[in-house]
């Protein structure tokens, strides 16, 4: 198994992973307010693209997309504490999916690599 993406079953398994992750995010009082006004279906598609990248699946990640996509949130005060909370939920999701610890670390490192783009630094 070379990636989490393959480990959990590839594209067909991603919807369930996104549901788990998004449900955690919406139930987390530290960050759920950032998602109050979003279209859930559209947001889930974005989260799927993000998770697919973090899990080592096919993607064309560009820092610019992340930067542009979060700029309006940074302007409203999005900061490291929110980023950390999302990363915690990502970790929790992977643990529930029984992803081996070494792969979880890898995915968290990929997520971490987006921090400065997400927070506009």
């Amino acid at each position: 198994m070379s990636s989490i993406y393959e480990h959990i079953g590839g594209a067909p398994a991603m919807d369930a992973a996104v549901d788990l992750f998004y449900r955690h995010v919406l139930s987390d009082e530290r960050i759920c307010h950032w998602f109050d006004d979003v279209d859930m279906a559209r947001q889930a598609a974005k989260q799927k693209a993000f998770l697919t990248m973090a899990f080592g699946g096919p993607n064309n990640y560009t820092g610019k997309d992340m930067r542009v996509g979060h700029a309006h949130l940074v302007a409203r005060g999005l900061n490291d504490s929110h980023f950390n909370a999302v990363a915690e939920n990502l970790k929790k999701t992977m643990e529930e999916l029984k992803v081996p610890a070494n792969l979880i670390s890898e995915a968290l490192a990929v997520a971490e690599s987006t921090r400065n783009d997400v927070l506009g630094r």
């Binding site: 449900r23 598609a45 697919t52």
Partner: protein, 329 residues
Amino acid sequence: MPEIRLGDSLYSCGNGETVLECLERHGVAIPSSCRSGVCQTCLMRALSGDPGSLAKQGLRETLQAQNYFMSCVCRPAENLGVALPDQAGLRTRGRIVEKTFLNERIVRLRYAMDTPVDYRAGQFMNLIGPLGDVRSYSLVSVPGVDEFLEFHILLLPGGRVSGWAYTQAAVGDESEMLGPHGACFYVGGRPEQPMLLAGTGTGLAPLYGIVRDALSQGHTGPIHLYHGALKASALYLVDELRAMAATHPNFNYVPCVFHPEGAAEGMQIGDIKRIVLDREGGVAGWRVFLCGDPELVRELQRACFKAGAGLRDILADSFLPNRSPSKPA
């Protein structure tokens, strides 16, 4: 080499080229983002030809059923006729064959169409009023069961199309319409899956169509329908829905009214959102349909998701004021 038809133009697709790459190479601007078959930004609809299963992977089944696909991962094996999402609706003409008042503010129009419309109950058409105003109305009729298109139109204060429908429209009048649009409808294949439907006002229109569609396709799982209104007199089709519940043991109808005055036996009193959440505990594995008031739709969508329903199993249609297409064709 397969050819791609978009509108009136034909584009020759190179070897191994995706539909998105082909159109871009020819100078057609198509929105795209992940270019990996995930984010759905480059969504298109196949009007002819098969885009292949890979290009549909991960799309919700209501989109798949309408031949939507992601152009960034579609390497066509055959000629394809495609449309961008906002071009996919067709213009048709119908004649009113029945007009019935369902309550003091809701009128039902039934249309016979010049040409058959390929639609699903719960989708919507953009009806063009006599002065050219365009308004969206849900399809209540069920293809294969009803020979007409049926709409329930709520009279709005100053409503230019609803006002016409309520006062002037008469049997024999003709209307043009565009569509169908929308992805809030029943798809067969999981007949035992429990279904929860909730809506307010004419949000009942698509839900009623979806329930009848599901039952006519032999759905056997429980179907729970909640219809909310401010007061009992604003409910409608109460007798029809009770009769349906009496003949279909798996169908349960719960009328909800906010104000108790005039409420009849069997009506729940209070906020429909609370009533639904109190009566339905876990909805993991359920298919959920939410229609009508945007605030209610949004809140119930979130609540049902948090209560376990899969996001792709929650289908929602918010009734926004003056919802009209970006560009009437």
